[in-house]
């Protein structure tokens, strides 16, 4: 089914989408919020620029955006896949707990903030270009991959991983990030790390037809120093 969103506000568009089972194509997306909220099956193809909270609480559907996306893509997403042929705004994958997000270009501030995981449920974000400040802040689980394609310097900004206490970030960069917060430790990627990200890199290449030749020397891994970063902060009273 094909929907022209040109003259629809978010409630009208989302109502129209809720009535459709299976795959849909939306043309002329123009900032409508909450597209694909909690969708659990089928595929949504979006042409244009969807608004904030795209695919919030997503529960299994696939969303592909031909254009850029705005803030809070995949907020608290549980399952499924979001593919963005462009850049994403702030708070990408906020508190995400399952599924995969692929961004061809860059992500704004606070991507992957408070991501979590439990047993087999492990969310993944792949950012093709660079990530903004506060990447993976309070991260409690999951995997963030930053490829730095087209970046001339470090594809990370400030305060990466503040309060991180779970999960992993793997960044393609020659230079070790400086000034990382004390909760984060950085090391060269191992063969096992590379193995872990290969399936996602293969997907990325296929989705965006970009060829990658990953070598473990090109990657750094950021991990939390402890599961309980703040235990020593308190005294009982």
């Amino acid at each position: 089914m094909k929907i022209d969103a040109a003259n629809l506000d978010f409630e009208q568009l989302n109502k129209a989408l809720k009535n459709v089972q299976g795959d849909s194509i939306v043309d002329n997306c123009l900032g409508q919020r909450f597209i694909g909220v909690k969708r659990n099956s089928g595929k949504l193809t979006l042409n244009g620029t969807p608004g904030n909270a795209l695919g919030a609480y997503l529960d299994g559907a696939v969303i592909e955006v031909f254009g850029n996306a705005q803030d809070a893509v995949g907020d608290t997403m549980n399952d499924g896949k979001i593919i963005i042929h462009g850049s994403a705004g702030d708070a990408l994958g906020l508190a995400m707990r399952g599924g995969e997000i692929y961004v061809k270009e860059n992500a704004g501030y606070r991507a992957g903030i408070h991501m979590k995981e439990y047993q087999e449920k492990k969310p993944v974000i792949v950012i093709g270009g660079s990530a903004g400040s506060f990447l993976g802040e309070y991260m409690a689980g999951g995997l963030i991959i930053v490829l730095g394609l087209g970046a001339t310097k470090l594809p990370l900004k400030n305060f990466t991983g503040t309060g991180m206490h779970g999960g992993k970030m793997i960044v393609r960069t020659k230079q070790l990030p400086e000034g990382l917060p004390p909760q984060v430790s950085a090391a060269k990627a191992s063969m096992a790390d590379l193995q872990e990200i290969l399936p996602y890199l293969t997907q990325f290449s296929a989705l965006f037809t970009i060829s990658l030749t990953p070598k473990k020397e090109d990657f750094f891994v950021l991990k939390p120093n402890a599961k309980n970063p703040y235990t020593k902060l308190y005294t009982e009273n």
Partner: protein
Amino acid sequence: MAINFLYPEYEIVRKESRCIACRACENQCAHGAHEFLADKGVMTCDESKCVNCHRCVCICPTRALKIVKSGNAYKQNANWGQRTVDELYRQADSGGVLLSSMGNPQNYPVYFDKILLNASQVTNPSIDPLREPMETRCALGAKPHRIERDKKGNIKNNLPPQLKLSMPILFSAMSYGSISYNAHESLARAAQELGIYYNTGEGGLHEDFYKYGKNTVVQVASGRFGVHSGYLNAGAAVEIKMGQGAKPGIGGHLPGTKIVGDIARTRMIPEGTDAISPAPHHDIYSIEDLRQLVYSLKEATDYKLPVIVKIAAVHNITAIASGIARSGADIIAIDGFRGGTGAAPTRIRDHVGIPIELALASVDKRLRDEGIRDNVSLVVGGSIRSSADIVKAVALGADAVYIASAALLALGCHLCRSCQTGKCNWGIATQIPQLTKRLNPDIGCKRLVNLLSAWKHEIQEMMGGMGINSIEALKGNRLMLRGIGLNERELAVLGIKHAGE
């Protein structure tokens, strides 16, 4: 060894003539304060371990035990009180931020205790609730501003989703993790039996409790623990937690030691990991951003459930509430500075925020002045201790109240304020199996039902005394209130007259 500056605050007094050395106290004290000396055949104790929870006192079969305030005293000093000195010693020892629990215990004015209720005499006769119908039911949610009709002239049902309560009381948020499975079960079952609601708190919803969904408010906090589409649609309302009265402006932190088994699964984080709720929601920096979360939750629940926004009572509460009333939220919950907590930094708990009575009176007035009072219902918490507090809160403008500490007291809590230790001897704020099994949900549920049934009857009696036969007619009826011992400013903020006026 370094000298310990701290002398125990309480003494365990054992009447030796009564003690039969049954060792029940030793067995019951998870803090290890009691000990049996096998060689001498007598009991001894170490007061420094006692948190004054009264478990042993209640359990002792011969009433041999009592806990009394230690007579040991520092040199009298009106400025450097004992508590101030002890806390300083504690920090000099450990270098840590002081961590406490339950509500603010400091000696600030309790405005509920300085407000008196009216009763009818001679004219407008009082109503006897035993003989006459007395309505305590209420509905929470936005109310339409006008009647709409369809083309045929019939009235359209334009009522947004509502929570329907048999009395103006809800159990407020306490997460599974901060309190035990049995405590949650007691609350859920009591809510169902009473026709009211309990609140999951921010720890997600255990699969066993989905069946109480009709009486459940599910919470979404900054950590988004256990939040997914099934969870959001399992309850009768969704609450966005922006703040909590015991710790306005800061987040939550459930230590990894409490993240075990089911709790890890319900929160969706690995066992042993700290559950950190950041201070802000990282997607909310304005009312417009809040509106985005409100509507993403409405979209996710197909506009069938009311959305509650919970905030702590702070200085600019009126402006904040006015913004929230325009955000699309259906209900605003305000938590006063005496509200309880499973753990909060002591300084924040004791020094940040304002009393709920003042916050409520100002917010209700502001929303009425702006003509947006019907956009939202107001639920207030932060130390509602009795049915009289509820009647006063409703007369100050609340639609309903949230209770938590009072509910825990019904379950056995003795306000020892040691929840942060995770060793609650009453089986409430703990996850240790030997302790949690001490709280029997059958009995817990019964005690909660008892308490609120009694309160309901008391509310009816107080209303009847005023000649009012429905809770709706009491709402915002400040003429039923008089202040006692309050100054002009306080009376003005509360919007009430002084007794005798």
